[in-house]
Amino acid sequence: MSVLAFAEQRGGALRQAALETMTAGRALADGSGVELVAVLLGPPALADEAERLARYGADRVLLAMSDNLAEYAPEAYTELLARAVEERGAKALVFSASARGKDLAPRVAARLGAGLASDVTELAVEDGRVVAVRPIYAGKLVSKVGFKADPALLSVRPRAYAAVENPRPGEVEEMTPQVDPEGLRTNVRMEAGEKRDRPDVAEAEIVVAGGRGMQGPENWKLLEELADALGPGAALGASRAVVDADWRPHAEQVGQTGKVVSPPLYFAIGISGAIQHLAGMRTAKCIVAVNKDAEAPVFKVADYGIVGDLFEVVPRLTEEIRKLRSEG
């Protein structure tokens, strides 16, 4: 018996999400007294990353290495993961609720006829069974569920579990990467050319989010400068109002029809705090709000607030943070 954790890679590099998934998987493995097995699918050059998975908590690393697995191949990935679960009689299979995890986990669950809990923020083993806590209605409520049977499939919200070094033997085993070619129907590749230099809002350490108070898309350079001062872990976010007004791309939207985020630090700049926005960011560890209206609902969830004109406050904030960063 074992707990499996999907080690996500993209473009031949292990993603941070893979290491977070090891931590989440460890909680289930320790809770049921079984091994944590990382499953890594990708090109042969990736085999070296097995060592890193062991350092972050994998007792064993199961490799399926083939150039055909370098890019996301949904059907092949589904078949290999379902096979790994069946061959090992796995108790659980843990994914990151990343773009890929959210696409892949349902396919594997359907293949196995297994239950899947999406976007969970806490998981554990209670009386021998896997239980999970997950926000619903974008976080307006929280639901705790238990799996009726094994295997339990789960996808874990980015940043809900931190990557922690926890060295294990990480014995490597290879599985055959061959899959039924009949089943391959989809071709996936990254769009060429497009490269964003900031992390995704759902995965960032720090989010700098702007709302209608920004008054127009041309003013976003203020937030970009703040994000730059905060460092490479900072992403830009946006309220629904500004996305609907086409000031910012939907990929940055935080809230019920955007992304639900849990960064360690969240700046809400010129965001009044509509109910669907607050639901999407209230699990941030620390929330800072800047708004000229002292009655804005965002101040009810913010840890720290400044009432004032953001066009004066934000440049000052950027300057102070630069100063702090340069002092090291």
């Binding site: 949904p74 990343s98 773009a99 890929r100 696409d103 892949l104 986990a105 349902p106 396919r107 669950a109 359907a110 006829g113 297994a114 899947l116 809990a117 999406s118 976007d119 997950r134 619903i136 974008a138 307006k140 409520l141 639901s143 705790k144 569920v145 238990g146 799996f147 009726k148 049977a149 129907r185 071709n187 996936v188 590749r189 990254m190 769009e191 992390p199 995965e203 939907h250 990929a251 939207q253 029809t257 630090l265 509509a274 109910i275 209230r282 699990t283 560890k285 620390c286 101040f299 969830v301 840890d303 720290y304 607030g305 400044i306 009432v307 004066e312 406050v313 904030l317 102070e320 943070i321």
Partner: protein, 249 residues
């Protein structure tokens, strides 16, 4: 082109969601129910695909109770040709619902099955890919752009830091993300016409639950925050607290 669009009735995103007296469900009082926002993009895309092809039909389908007829009528008012109500309870996890939908879809003719990427109540983001897997169909989820050329689908899906291009041949499944298109509002004429469009009802029974309900909770209250001060002069104190108290910098 024959298109099936699977939809769901959900509370409007502006709704306050409050725990019901039974502790197991939400208090539905005062909640306005709507066609799931992501499904609006799916219905719109279906209408455009049919219009582009110049022939075919758009069928909207849902698993739910009598009250879901209203949701189907909304999609009919947007321009869908017919509706199917699969009468039964959806499951709280995706697979039970996907099984009911897949069984009904299998009985029909289709080139494309469209979904919204997720329903904004359970937030599962599971059903589209599960239906695809159960029907052995190719699938693209979280799609922000789609092009269909003859039999060939090229879909762009949103991933961290960019877009992925997904290519496959029809028949297949596409799950819509916000931004795929600009959904039309039902016209008055559309609303009148929707009343006369066919709405088939089939009893399918309740979907299988693979997860047990344990507890439904309000999210943890955040401790009351503090206003550090007013205007830019408050910034140094804010930064000090972020660094020393919150250890966030």
């Amino acid at each position: 082109m024959n298109i099936i669009v699977c939809v769901k009735r959900v509370p409007d995103s502006e709704s306050r969601i409050v725990l019901g007296g039974d502790g197991r469900s939400i208090d539905t009082q005062g909640i306005k129910y709507v066609l799931n926002p992501y499904d609006e993009y799916a219905v719109e895309e279906a209408l455009r695909l049919k219009e582009g092809a110049g022939a075919g039909s758009v069928t909207v389908m849902t698993l739910g109770g009598e009250e879901s007829k209203e949701t189907l009528r909304t999609a009919l008012a947007m321009g869908a040709d017919q509706a199917v109500l699969l009468k039964g309870h959806p499951s709280s996890d995706g697979l039970g619902t996907a099984e009911k939908l897949a069984a009904a879809i299998k009985e029909r003719e289709y080139d494309v099955v469209l979904f919204g990427k997720q329903a904004i109540d359970d937030d599962n983001l599971q059903v589209p890919a599960m239906v695809a897997e159960l029907l052995q169909l190719p699938c693209a989820t979280v799609v922000v752009a789609v092009k269909i050329d003859g039999n060939k689908v090229t879909a762009e899906r949103e991933v961290e830091g960019g877009h992925e291009i997904v290519e496959f041949e029809l028949p297949g499944v596409i799950a819509a993300q916000k931004g795929l298109n600009e959904p039309r509002y039902p016209s008055l004429k559309g609303i009148m016409a929707a009343k006369k469009k066919p709405l088939e009802e089939v009893d399918v029974g309740d979907a299988e639950e693979r997860l047990d309900f344990i507890e439904l909770m309000n999210p943890p209250e955040r401790a009351a925050g503090e206003i550090v001060g007013e205007g830019p002069d408050a910034v140094p104190e804010l930064v000090r607290r972020l660094r020393e108290k919150a250890k966030a910098l």
